[in-house]
Amino acid sequence: MASYHGNPHSEPAKMEQIITEFFAKSLHIILESRSPYVSSRNYSGEQVLSSPSPSPSSSSSSSSSFRPRDKWFNLALRDCPAALENIDFWRQSNLEPMIVDVILVQTPLNFSPKRGPARNSSSGKDRHFYGSDTDEFGSEAKSEKIIERWILQYESKKSAGGGSSTSSSSGSSSKRSGNTSSHALYKKSILLLRSLYATIRLLPAYKLFRDLISSAQIRLYNLGHRVSSFVEPFTRREEADMQKFVFTPVETSCGRLCLSVLYRSSVLDLSSEPSTPISPQFIQEYVGSPMAEPLKRFPSGPISQSSPSSSSPFGRRHSWSYDIYRESPSSANPSPSPTYSEAPIHRLPPSSLPRHLHDDTSSVVAHVKNPSYDEYWPSPMFSPSPSPSPPTNVTGVSHMPKAILRYSSMPSLPNKQPRFDQLTVPKELFTLSKDEPGNMLGVKPSSNSSLSFQDDSEFSGAFVLDDEDDTTDPGSRQGSFDLACGPHTSFPVKKSQDAAVGALVHMLKKATPLHQEISVVHHMQEDTTATTSSNLALSKTTADAFEELRLYREMKDSLLKQGKKNIPQA
């Protein structure tokens, strides 16, 4: 059976171990089919339509051998890093209840793969960071909604505190005949987990998950989750929308193991949204980002590492690289840090933010709450108004040049003056976005999807490793993550919708000398104090643009001169 078999430990210890593992397994089952990142289904052709003769090998996708963890409850599951990380936190909590909220996040751009759970939940104070209230930044066209709440708890009969269940059970269990109770508990736990496994696939949210991971279509929603040990009660109205399914508790000699789920039955209404007016806008934006163009611009840049391989089947996965890019500024670019401090961060202690940002597993919910984070999203929805930027916006809009700089693997540059090399980006944006979305999608994946694809294998590799020793080492994970996404080929660019920008862009388009590549490259090589402030250009009038253009010309000339001086030396 499992590892408790033949365990010399006492009966209560065995039971506690079973209960602990039960929690871990339950969480694994839940997140495996709710957290879109590690999709068990497209792991390796696991998603078999009911066909008369499914391939025999499909039953053992990742490996034919069973790992020790698989043997618990005789149920072999696929890797789910989200579950692994969360269970580590829970294991320290002395059989506290475990509440897993599955959150539907609706936003045109929120593609966070949700690989990672609410990492913040690993420490008590951070948990407050996630509220179910979604209107804090109501202007954002984004909503989150708890669509499922799984509640696992072990109700100890004797003691009030869950932590003392060991000591309390030692007395009571002696009345029963030794092994039978733990055997019975184990068998019933197996049954309960089988039920959970089947049930979770029948609930409405599963369809969302399935669509998220299986279709190449861009979805306007994502699923997030939050694991905590306390219940944040629903409002009466919320609760009215929820249905409840209570699994029959497993009685033990010293308590009972309870599992129940509150779920929203109307989830499906929300999923039928890909046709909202936002979507074409988004695609344009998405595609118009410099992801593809810099390839041409800096062919020798690090992006060239990403093979121009398979594209379309991985359409959905693009989101992953998006996520990567949302994370990357924190580690790669020192300049955003001021933004964090001045951003209206609520409830989250500043000290925990960097960790959060560095954390590749940070959750959707976190993004929702953190506007500074949002600024890295290429969303028109979140763009500030086209009017002159408020001070906090400076870094927010300035990621366009950052993107460029990143492509050329230059260090981040402080804000100084707008420069022509940055202004060429809007030009590209403009021309690109005129194309058919389809075409654009055709372009972009060449750099992007292959990346994601690599991510996939890299991740699984890393996590398989993690599985072997069953440890959760954020550091190593981060490492493999970085490795996987090494070449930062894509970076979301925010486009102002102001007509002035269009005019400016037009102008720049005609200013041929400005995008001679050689000068751009010179810039990149020469000037480490360059600027990241194309945002200015975005928010200014045509007159301003002309003025800037003139400045650029002068700058270019001077730099070209410098460059000529330096090149012979180099």
Binding site: E46, Q47, V48, L49, L75, A76, S195, Y197, A198
Partner: protein, 215 residues
């Protein structure tokens, strides 16, 4: 030892839906009774927005498909309305007195009755193709409504299975081995007219010895 019996809600299905519906139900039950080490496999139904779980046992899959073939065969030969499939789990006990006759006794501890009402197609049997053709005719709408209703019912049946599994746990014998499909099982088909139905059951009970008589 008592035998728990679960009568699953009757489903009104059409001929081309038999295979998917039966697979879905049988595999779901067996997944809940495969208490050995399994690596579950998700299967999306083609006709319905339903995902069920198989326990990833090729042999089991083959057996189930075999039985479904038999069932379809019966339905075609005897187009009567009541069709029942029984999935039974048992323990094998050697009868002391008759061991030399190689007679083993099956102690049934659980039986699942799947009740299907296969509609008779006016156009006759449409063969084995169970593709959901989108036919533009006035009946299309009612057909999709019927399909949706069946999907709901099938989902109900799956939840019925899950509830049953949840509520009844004490009658399950100890897990005999670590193989995925841990308990011996049999799938029997009773496709007979209403009148003969009871007789058929009685015969089967006499043959196998009804578990309640033995307990």
């Amino acid at each position: 030892m008592n035998c728990e019996v679960c009568q699953l809600k009757e489903l009104d299905i059409e001929h081309f839906e038999i295979r998917e519906v039966l697979r879905c139900i049988l595999h779901t039950v067996l997944f809940h009774r495969a208490l050995g080490l399994v690596r579950p496999k998700d299967i999306d139904l083609e006709l319905f927005e339903i995902t069920y779980v198989q326990c990833g046992d090729v042999e089991l899959e083959r057996k189930i498909d075999e039985k479904i073939d038999q069932f379809i065969d019966r339905v075609e030969k005897h187009p009567n309305k009541k069709n029942q499939i029984c999935l039974s789990f048992y323990e094998v006990k050697n009868k002391q007195a008759t061991w030399f006759t190689n007679k083993v006794e099956r102690l049934y501890w659980e039986q699942w009755y799947i009740n299907l009402n296969v509609a008779q197609h006016p156009k006759g049997i449409s063969g084995k193709s169970y593709s959901s053709k989108v036919v533009v005719d006035p009946g299309a709408e009612s057909r999709s409504a019927r399909r949706a209703a069946l999907e709901t019912s099938l989902r109900d049946v799956l939840f019925q299975i899950i509830r049953f599994v949840n509520e009844k746990k004490d009658h399950i014998p100890p897990i005999p081995n670590l193989e995925g499909v841990s308990f011996p099982y049999e799938i029997t088909i009773s496709s007979s007219s209403d009148s003969a139905f009871g007789m058929d059951m009685l015969k089967r009970m006499l043959q196998t010895g009804h578990p309640t008589m033995l307990s």
